[in-house]
Amino acid sequence: MGYCPNTPDDIRDMLAVIGAASVQELFAPIPPELRAKSFDLPPGMSELELMRLMREKAAACGADITPFIGGGIYDHFIPAAVDHLASRAEFYTAYTPYQPECAQGTLQALYEYQSAICRLTGLEASNASLYDGGTAVAEAALMSLRITDRHKVVLDASVNPLHREIVTGYLHGLSAEAVVVAPDGCASDLARLMASIDDETAAVIVQSPNFFGSVQDFRELAQKAHDHEALLVVSCYPIALGLVASPGEMGADIAVGEGQSLGNHVSFGGPYFGFIATRKRFIRNLPGRIAGETIDHQGRRGFVLTLQAREQHIKRHKATSNICSNQSLCALRGLIFCAALGKKGFEDLGLLNYDKAQYAKSVLGAVRGVDLLNPGATFNEFTVALPKDAAEVVQRLLDKGVAAGVPLGQYYPGMERALVVTVTEKRTKEEIDRLAALLEEVLWS
């Protein structure tokens, strides 16, 4: 087949129809200085040559670098079934696939996705996904304002700083207020969080594992929030839920998180998806669309978009959210990922992450001058203090082919020497040992 969209003959024919003598004449209304002089493209090449070129370019962009970076987006293994099933045309190219009479498959997939999110978070109702983890946290904050009719949220500073920025941005526009509570070292300061809750508080927003990697139990915090008729919002890392208590078990009213880890590739900022789940009694305040199961007039099982009166195409300015789309295909990948792993596989994956990170903690902790900063429980991420500026150390390690982690100085002034290191199931013992050896080298030679 031909890969060129327009042959010289095609171009001549089209120009003849509109009466232009040349392409230059067609573009004449555009001032010459705004027109491209030339395109820096090599001549045509074979598929083999092209693949070689793209591999070289990818390597130059860091595809060969071993990542120990997390901070919200994680390098996990993706079973082949995810790419295969998600790229089926029925899912991949479906346009406006929400008319129930013609999109039962899509609606069923979303319904099953919601069921998987409910299982993971330990809550009763999920929507069909949101843009990303950050908007999910912000939507949870808005939900709590609507439910409680209050205007203040308590926001733990160990929640992902990028997500916090989205929350405070949203609240600013609504004249609502976020009370930011500093952590105690690398862990949420539970006492200070509890002391910040009063009868004006709509919700307390926390994250576990938090941005420093610390895993915490928020049961007591949930109780304290509920005593003041406030809600508890827990942002969680879905892969960790194979191992740690779910937000639902801890008494959370809303669970949110970034869904990228569930079967979506790491890429330059997306597309990813956010998930949100809540208790059934709050379902009318859940933003976005919800797929539901029902029966048709002959009693056959079927799927529909349900509770649509909450949405902006019916409720206008009173809708629960101005977000009217969801990340259907990314969410579908999440569902296929969960289904491919199954309950046991999910637990195993959690354990693998935990074990490898524990090993990394022990070898990095043994490097001269390096201190571990999370005395309590962690999952696959932890914070170390270096004897030098972390951003500089990371840059020097990058030159050696290792992305050592996320330097914290950019988000937490005063923590310029702190580094968050992430170890997923994809990192090998050799890679972890190499990180430790290179770190020693960069710090001391």
């Binding site: 649509q308 009166a309 909450r310 019916i314 409720k315 009173k318």
Partner: protein, 123 residues
């Protein structure tokens, strides 16, 4: 007791200084199957014709406006479990809430049943 109606299809019935509020039979019929009544919060103070709460049917969501000023003292909890009560009897068991501290003078701005009947004919 006499019912009074608003142009937005709410009714109000007075018992002393307490008012019972709902939506009219006509409104319930026009909305179709009611799926949810967003009951107002007890203790809420409303002014006449301000938004009191909202009601949802299968494919629409509408505001309910306060026919008179007052403070919400009681809501029809039965509607939480059975919003269809509004369809079954919008002007009886499907009442929405009760208001106290009502100024009866405000009723003058409303229609009685006969006037409302006439008003509906003109719609």
């Amino acid at each position: 007791m006499t019912k009074f109606y608003t142009k937005e299809h709410e009714w109000v019935e007075m018992a002393g200084a307490q008012a019972t509020v709902g939506i009219s039979e006509h409104a319930a019929h026009e909305l179709g199957d009611i799926t949810y009544v967003d009951l107002p919060k007890i203790g809420k103070n409303v002014k006449q014709f301000d938004a009191l709460s909202a009601i949802e049917s299968v494919k629409a969501a509408s505001d309910i406006y306060a026919p008179v000023s007052g403070k919400v003292t009681e809501v029809n909890q039965a509607l939480d479990e059975a919003p269809e009560l509004v369809n079954q009897g919008a002007e009886s068991q499907g009442w929405i809430c009760k208001l106290e501290g009502v100024n009866e003078a405000e009723l003058g701005a409303l229609m009685d049943a006969a006037a409302y009947e006439e008003y509906l004919k003109g719609l």
